[in-house]
């Protein structure tokens, strides 16, 4: 009888792992997986934190830029500022019109408009600037293209406005505005135009209890504090800036 081939004897392949080799392989695999997955998880947490921080920074930046733009050269009386702890009402000016010289008092004026948007007769009012400074606010009832231009006046696209009251000769500028208000409620800075809804301008990151507006001796200040997350304290305590009378020397 012939002896079985080596191959047959050993079963046709590499066989057999010792227990030690198995354990080492398992440990190595587990270790690598643990490191990889924990790194992955930490990275995800870090990114989530950075995203929330970026949102908060963007909200603070937006709030500052928007309010600063509205009030940088503001005047409390002229601009009709009204202050509550969570809201700030203003005349939001949207443009300036050069007024064609008037021969006599009239409720119709011809103007050349310059602004961030065109005036809207359904919601805008006008502050007429006369020879001694500001006059009272008038409603903008109607506007149309001006036929005939402005003899001796500004060139370019001209409009004819009908206002709710008469404008005296000597008026030189007319600034059109909408009545609006900024609110720090429900975690975000929101803008309300007239009696409309409050539209959010920022992500909802603010702590309502610790954020708001305040009057400091006639100067408007805004206080911002973002909500803490995951039990951590917010990265900054707040931001204050003053929007008030810019006094010239």
């Amino acid at each position: 009888m012939m002896r079985a081939s080596k191959k047959e004897r050993v079963g046709g392949g590499v066989r057999g792992f010792t227990l030690a080799e198995t354990l080492v392989a398992l440990l190595l695999g587990w270790g690598l997986s643990y490191v990889a997955l924990s790194t992955f998880a930490r990275q995800r947490t870090l990114q989530a934190g950075m995203t929330r921080r970026a949102e908060a920074l963007a909200a603070v930046r937006t709030t500052r830029n928007v309010l600063h733009a509205e009030t940088r050269v503001g005047d409390a009386e002229r601009d009709g500022w009204s202050l509550a702890s969570d809201s700030f009402g203003i005349r939001a000016f949207r443009g300036t019109a050069l007024v064609c010289p008037l021969a006599e008092a009239s409720s119709e004026i011809v103007v050349q408009v310059r602004g961030t948007r065109l005036p809207d007769a359904s919601k805008d009012s006008v502050l007429v600037v006369g020879e001694s400074g500001m006059a009272g606010a008038l409603g903008l009832d109607f506007r149309t293209a001006a036929e005939g231009g402005c003899p001796g006046g500004p060139e370019g696209r001209l409009e004819r406005w009908r206002l709710s009251g008469e404008v005296s000769p000597g008026a030189v500028l007319a600034r059109y505005f909408e009545r609006g208000s900024y609110h720090l409620v429900n975690g975000a800075l929101r803008y309300r135009r007239g009696a409309g809804g409050r539209q959010p301008l920022t992500p909802t990151v603010f702590d309502d209890r610790a954020s708001g507006f305040e009057d400091r001796d006639g100067v408007v200040a805004v206080r911002l504090r973002t909500k803490p997350w995951d039990g951590d304290a917010p990265p900054w305590p707040g931001l204050l800036f003053h929007a008030g009378l810019e006094r010239w020397p």
């Binding site: 081939s5 950075m50 995203t51 050269v73 300036t96 020879e131 500001m134 030189v172």
Partner: protein, 357 residues
């Protein structure tokens, strides 16, 4: 017999590659987030710099001397004022004439490679000689209900042209202007205005404080104005040298003085021309003066005093029988034109500042 080749199986490498890929994507996302934050912060900084540059432009424009012939700028024309390169941007200022005396001072600031732009606009008032002369309601204006005691002569008939013995030659440059001011609406001898508080004469929007600040040469107490010259030069720095109205060919003939008195002032004799501002009472005794008198208190002309021009006295006027006041639009206009560089500066209109239109 040959042995079977090795058959390596397993997903470890694939898993490792996928994990590394996921980590790389996360890291890339984080990097993008950081870069966006940096860009946003940089934009905010540029905007702030532009705002500051615009405000700087507006302030520089307020302090920049007006161009020589700015008063001839047609309404609705722009004139450049200044362009300043700052460390963080560029500040440009220009003026748009809205009416005879109202201008729009536009300060524009630019910052950064993307040229962030901001504006700081200001409604300003700049004295116009013709407008000021045309604003008088009488040869002599007094405050409402202020006492008026005129025993001498107040003439209002020659506002447009000076007549002999006055030399009409200095008035020729303003013939057309004077005609436009007084041809259809000649002034009465005495006019009234709403009385300003005592001690606060004004000239348009130029109040007492501005007049005292902008006209630094001051006099007080009692004095006699006389033309003073040395080696062919008019000593204009002498506070009691008020020019020489009688000898226009002399060195002091063209000197139109601006003087202020913070209290009462008594002028004894002498001659002068220009603009005299007295916050208190002004008494002129045997003095001849050509130009404009602005008096916060009471104006008294005595002992043959003669004034040619226009006057405003909040506290009233007293002219004795030997003195006279001759209304002259020319002399008034000439006085203000002579002080154009001093008084022709932008004055901010209250509550007239605003941002981009």
């Amino acid at each position: 017999m040959r042995s079977q080749p090795h058959a390596e199986r397993g997903a470890a490498l694939v898993v490792a590659v996928l994990l590394v890929l996921a980590l790389a994507l996360l890291a890339h996302g984080t990097l993008l987030l950081a870069q966006q934050e940096l860009a946003a912060s940089r934009s905010s900084l540029r905007l702030l710099q532009a705002n500051s540059a615009a405000e700087a432009a507006s302030r520089i424009g307020m302090e920049t001397p007006m161009p020589a012939r700015f008063s001839e700028t047609p309404v609705w024309d722009w004139i450049p004022l200044s362009s300043t390169t700052l460390e963080t941007g560029v500040a440009d200022a220009r003026l748009l004439r809205l009416s005879r005396e109202h201008w729009l001072l536009e300060g524009t600031g630019r910052s950064g490679p993307g040229a962030w732009m901001s504006q700081d606009n200001r409604l300003v008032w700049i004295l116009d000689s013709a407008a000021r002369v045309g604003s008088f309601t009488g040869v002599v204006e007094v405050g409402r209900d202020a006492p008026v005691a005129v025993l001498g002569n107040v003439e209002a008939g020659h506002l447009r042209r000076d007549v002999a013995p006055l030399d009409p030659i200095p008035c020729r440059p303003w013939s057309a202007v004077l005609d436009s001011l007084f041809e259809l609406a000649p002034l009465p001898a005495i006019g009234t205005v709403e009385a300003s508080p005592r001690g606060e004469p004004s000239l348009g929007l130029l109040g007492a404080a501005e007049l005292v600040e902008w006209i630094p040469a001051s006099v007080d107490g009692v004095g006699t104005p006389e033309p003073r010259e040395e080696l062919g030069r008019c000593l204009m720095e002498d506070p009691w040298n008020w020019g020489d109205p009688d000898r226009p060919d002399r060195p002091c003939g063209a000197h139109l003085a601006g003087r202020t008195a913070r209290g009462d002032l008594s002028v004894e004799g002498g001659v002068g021309q220009g603009l005299l501002v007295a916050l208190g009472d002004l008494r002129m005794s045997a003095t001849r003066f050509h130009g404009i008198l602005l008096v916060g208190g009471r104006l008294e002309l005595q002992r043959g005093a003669e004034v040619v021009g226009l006057a405003r006295a909040s506290g009233g006027i007293e002219i004795d029988a030997t003195s006279s006041f001759v209304g002259s639009g020319c002399r008034a206009l000439r006085a203000l034109e002579g002080l154009r560089m001093t008084l022709g500066r932008p004055l901010a209109v209250p509550a007239g500042r605003f941002g981009p239109p």
